[in-house]
């Protein structure tokens, strides 16, 4: 079973090379952290993975389906949590979920059932009618994750999903997504925060547009803290 395969992906903004020959292969049910400092190419990679850009060279395969050749079938198997908030603040929690479901072709009774299931899973069933504006940042993010799973994707992509959240929300969301991976979902989690990575996670270290390390966090860091490994490999200083 394949989760997400990226092979020989390169991308340039004009003369500026943003990604060079990026390849990795995530098996199903794996939590993989895409770790890289700002400007490493994480966002570019996400835009390519979600089909917002297409790359002139390289291939992306989502749950066995080639994104370049069958973009819609591939997108249908993918859940995405963007870095920017994508909720309609003035619409209700429930309405936000139904809107997303409809974009994925789910309507009527089925959409209602899935929205209820998502709300129950969030423990937010009683807040379904509330406007999203009334939710705190952590709840909004949890909701975006639940929403990204409504069409039952096989691969979940998250682009720095904990930006702007407090420590407790950050820890809760990180743990929650790890559980999702344990349940069989393939997860690619972009971040520059090493404390969100567990020892058993796969880590792909992206630096200046290239993959400079790809291993489990435990193997990668050896005896040092992952943060130190990260800084050493990317030539950064403590931020």
């Amino acid at each position: 079973m394949t989760g997400l395969i990226v092979s020989h992906l390169s991308y340039a903004y004009g003369a500026k090379q943003a990604l060079r020959d990026v390849s990795f292969d995530l098996p199903k049910g794996r939590f993989c952290a895409l770790l890289g400092p700002n400007g490493a190419g994480k966002s570019t990679l996400f835009n390519l993975l979600t089909g917002l850009f297409t790359a002139p060279r390289g291939d992306i395969t989502v749950a066995g389906i080639n994104l370049g050749r069958q973009p819609r079938a591939a997108l249908a198997r993918m859940g995405v949590v963007f870095q920017q908030p994508t909720l309609d603040l003035d619409l209700s929690v429930r309405r936000n979920l139904l809107y997303f479901a409809a974009l994925h072709g789910i309507a009527g009774q089925e959409a209602a059932v899935r929205a209820d299931a998502a709300l129950a899973q969030l423990g937010m069933a009683e807040r379904a009618g509330e406007k999203v504006r009334g939710l705190n940042g952590g709840h909004r993010r949890r909701m975006e994750i639940a929403r990204a799973l409504m069409h039952r994707p096989e691969v979940l992509l998250l682009d720095e999903p904990t930006v702007g959240l407090d420590a407790a929300s950050r820890a809760a969301i990180t743990a929650h997504v790890h559980e999702l991976a344990d349940a069989g979902l393939t997860v690619l989690w972009a971040t520059h925060l090493t404390d969100e990575v567990q020892d058993s996670d796969r880590v792909i270290l992206l630096h200046k547009g290239a993959v400079i390390a790809d291993d489990t966090a435990a193997a990668l860091r050896g005896a040092e803290a992952l943060r130190d490994t990260f800084l050493r490999l990317t030539g950064g200083t403590a931020a």
Partner: protein
């Protein structure tokens, strides 16, 4: 079926947002009303209008500019919604939209249609207020103006979408006001008939004739009086086709607006 579900959801969302943001609705209505009640009232004395089709009698200046102000509503809304799509807080929801497993052209078309329908509601409110003020069109006109507004609104929305995707300098609304909205609005038949413009400068008149907004306004003007201006309809349709193709080109994932570091 999946396509229809998505279209319905996009229209529904726009309708809910419209209902939820009454302030925006009122603000969008104030602009043409100021033009109608202040500008036109002041200008009435200065500008005498003879009988030209579709009018069958002498008309006051207020009567003349009503269709142009409908066009103004469409123009502002078209620019505003398309640009906010890209640069404002809508960036996230645009991404959500574009990653739906449907053809991109269909998603953009749905978005365009949703925005246009909201504009038509605003035009309806504007025409209702104008009617209360005594500026009335025949009943048939109020029906026929709907497809004219739809076609014109789609054309101007597509123009906004095209600009948002291909022109990188117009990153704020002020730039769009100066370089797109004002020239389009003033170089058109919205505020003065083209024969008046020709008296001032034939060259300016020619420019106005090339402006698709002129044809949108004329399409609306004739429709409001129960007539079809075939020439204007043709121009507006051609412009819609051109802008749509350009917008789709701009939103092609291999290039265009998305293709740069945000």
């Amino acid at each position: 079926m999946r396509w229809a579900i998505a279209l319905a959801a996009i229209l529904h969302r726009e309708a809910l947002r419209f209902v939820g943001q009454r302030g925006r609705f009122v603000a969008a209505l104030v602009r043409p009303l100021v033009w109608l009640f202040v500008f036109a009232a002041g200008f009435r004395a200065a500008l005498g209008l003879s009988i030209t089709p579709p009018y069958q009698t002498y008309i006051t200046y207020e009567v003349y500019i009503v269709p142009g102000l409908c066009g103004m509503i469409l123009l502002f809304n078209g620019m505003q919604s398309s640009l906010s799509l890209v640069y404002d807080r809508e960036m996230g929801s645009m991404r959500l939209l574009l990653t739906a497993p449907l053809p991109r052209w269909w998603l953009l078309f749905s978005k365009l249609l949703a925005g246009t329908l909201v504009s038509i509601l605003q035009c309806a409110a504007f025409l209702a207020i104008a009617a209360l003020w005594g500026i009335r069109a025949p009943m048939l006109g109020y029906v026929m103006v709907i497809p004219a507004l739809l076609l014109s609104g789609m054309m101007l929305g597509a123009l906004g979408l095209m600009l948002s995707s291909v022109i990188k300098q117009l990153e704020n609304f002020a730039g769009v006001m100066n370089f797109v909205i004002f020239p389009m609005f003033f170089l058109s038949s919205a505020l003065y008939p083209l024969w008046k413009m020709a008296e001032a400068s034939p060259r300016l008149r020619d420019l106005c004739m090339l402006n698709p907004f002129t044809h949108a306004v004329e399409l609306i003007r004739f429709a409001l009086y129960g007539q079809v201006n075939g020439m204007a309809a043709l121009w507006v349709t051609l412009a819609l086709g051109l802008f749509s193709v350009a917008a789709l080109w701009g939103y092609d994932p291999a290039r265009g607006v998305q293709n740069r570091k945000a």
